[in-house]
């Protein structure tokens, strides 16, 4: 597996620039998750603030506001735990290049969620991030400098 990791540069070297983007995004998600995790352990701040900020956002779709106030906020601890877990999953997956394709789809869903929750000034950033995730999924960015190459070589298929 270790050999395949470096061997990938030789065979799918054209994906190398994308791999750097993938690793950078992985670092970004790990950093985000660690910050949210710290606030989560304190029991306040981080995602809790985002939920409250969203409730006060006038442009929030009515169905999402209802979902937020009736379902998410009463059990915000569970939802925050899931979101942080998914952030860690995206971060680790991108850094090691493992199951990058399906994880990119999760990252897109997370970004869409942030797009609705966060303030208007962050919209462009999240749209840009979504396009990056789609790009990573499209090219199968885990195949270069990633564990995905090892499985791709043996099993092929759309998961790698």
């Amino acid at each position: 597996m270790f050999q395949a990791y470096f061997e990938s540069i030789k065979y799918v070297g054209h994906l190398l620039p994308i791999s750097f983007l993938r690793i950078f995004l992985g670092y970004f998600y790990i950093d985000l998750a660690l910050k949210d995790w710290k606030f989560y352990n304190i029991g306040s701040g981080g995602l809790a603030d985002i939920f409250v900020e969203a409730l006060n956002k006038p442009a929030l779709p009515a169905w999402y506001r209802l979902l937020l106030s009736e379902q998410i906020i009463p059990q915000w601890h569970i939802f925050a735990f899931i979101i942080i877990g998914l952030q860690f999953a995206v971060g680790i997956s991108y850094i090691v290049g493992y199951v990058v394709r399906p994880i990119s789809m999760i990252a897109v869903v997370l970004c869409l969620n942030y797009l609705v929750l966060s303030s208007v000034d962050k919209e462009i950033f999240f749209k840009l991030l979504i396009s990056c995730h789609i790009l990573l999924a499209w090219v199968g960015a885990g195949r270069c400098l990633g564990i995905d190459y090892y499985f791709f070589k043996r099993r092929r298929g759309m998961w790698w």
Partner: protein
């Protein structure tokens, strides 16, 4: 697919493991930390927060951690939904209206008498409630420049044609000073007259900013001649900018007062520490810091002696009142209706 599921399961099991093993350690560390929710201006390095923290930590075993809150209303919403999980030990920056808003939703601790040195204007606020401690205050009025050509002695003078479009006001739906002005008008005039007056005042307004700082910025940039602000505002210009051309205007009507309160939610984790911090905030040293950094008046006697604040003339003020949320809503709705119908 199974790799994907296995990967997610691994991440979540790892996270659960850390969560259950970290909890005790976090609680031990937090024992001596007082978590205080305060506004950005309070926490900023030019605000009173850092100096208060430093002095308090020198005198006590507790550590202070300020958590910046963009808006008090949002903090209260958060406290409401976090319930027992809320980590806030102390909330700063509440005003009379926030107290009315939060009364039904959040439970607050009853506070012991923290100072018997409170000035008379503020002491009234403690007669009707014992859950919130005032820590600074200031009467509110219109602030202008000394070279203002128009003579203003009462609310009706604001309707003079020379001031058309020259008054910077705040939106009462989003701003506490804006709400103060609205309530002031309804308190000093009979309802019918107040509505007529509001209609006329809206035509005089340059704009209704979402917050105090927006309106004050317009006034400072000379886009407006008057702004509804604190009587202490001119002192800021004297101290920070050595500019004494700003004046607060005395009115025939008694002025409304804005008091900032601190409260300890019942869900506090370090309640003892929070109470200690409140006691500290009522001390002479802390009051001086708050006065000098927040540009508000101290709540205890003698704290402003021999300072620039001693020169501030505290005009006749209305007694502090806690309004029912319903009444506030009614006034705001009337204001909204007028604004809508006037096509403003």
């Amino acid at each position: 697919m199974k790799h994907f599921i296995f990967f997610l399961a691994l991440i979540f099991s790892g996270l659960s493991f850390f969560y259950f093993n970290k909890e005790d350690k976090v609680n031990v560390v937090e024992d001596r930390t007082i978590r205080i929710y305060a506004s950005a201006s309070f926490v900023a390095k030019w605000g009173p927060g850092p100096a208060l923290k430093e002095l308090f930590e020198k005198q006590n075993i507790f550590k202070v951690e300020f958590i910046e809150s963009p808006d008090v209303a949002m903090t209260l919403q958060k406290l409401n939904f976090e319930k027992q999980n809320a980590s806030a030990d102390l909330i700063l920056g509440l005003d009379q209206f926030d107290i009315a808003r939060s009364a039904a939703k959040i439970e607050w601790r009853t506070l012991p008498a923290l100072s018997d040195d409170m000035i008379s204007e503020v002491a009234g606020a403690l007669k009707s409630q014992n859950q919130f401690m005032p820590y600074d205050w200031a009467p509110m009025t219109f602030v202008g420049r000394q070279d203002l050509k128009v003579q203003i002695d009462q609310l009706d003078d604001l309707l003079k044609p020379e001031l058309k479009g020259r008054i910077a006001l705040q939106d009462p739906r989003t701003s506490s000073p804006g709400l103060q002005l609205l309530i002031w008008i309804f308190e000093t005039k009979p309802t019918e007259q107040a509505i007529v007056y509001l209609k006329a005042l809206m035509k005089q307004a340059h704009s209704f900013s979402a917050g105090w700082s927006g309106a004050y910025g317009l006034f400072k940039n000379k886009q407006a001649d008057l702004v509804f602000s604190y009587v202490t505002s001119p002192i800021y210009h004297v101290v920070e900018e050595h500019d004494s051309s700003f004046v607060s205007i005395e009115m025939k009507e008694a002025l409304p007062i804005q008091i900032e309160f601190a409260g300890i939610p019942k869900t506090c984790k370090n309640c003892e520490g929070a109470e200690q911090f409140l006691r500290f905030m009522a001390s002479q040293e802390a009051q001086k810091i708050i006065m000098n950094k927040n540009y508000m008046l101290p709540v205890i006697e003698r704290a402003k002696e021999a300072t620039e604040f001693d020169a501030i003339k505290v005009y006749r003020t209305l007694p502090i009142k806690f309004y029912d949320q319903e009444k506030i809503e009614k006034w705001i709705n009337q204001w909204t209706e007028i604004r809508k119908n006037e096509g403003l």
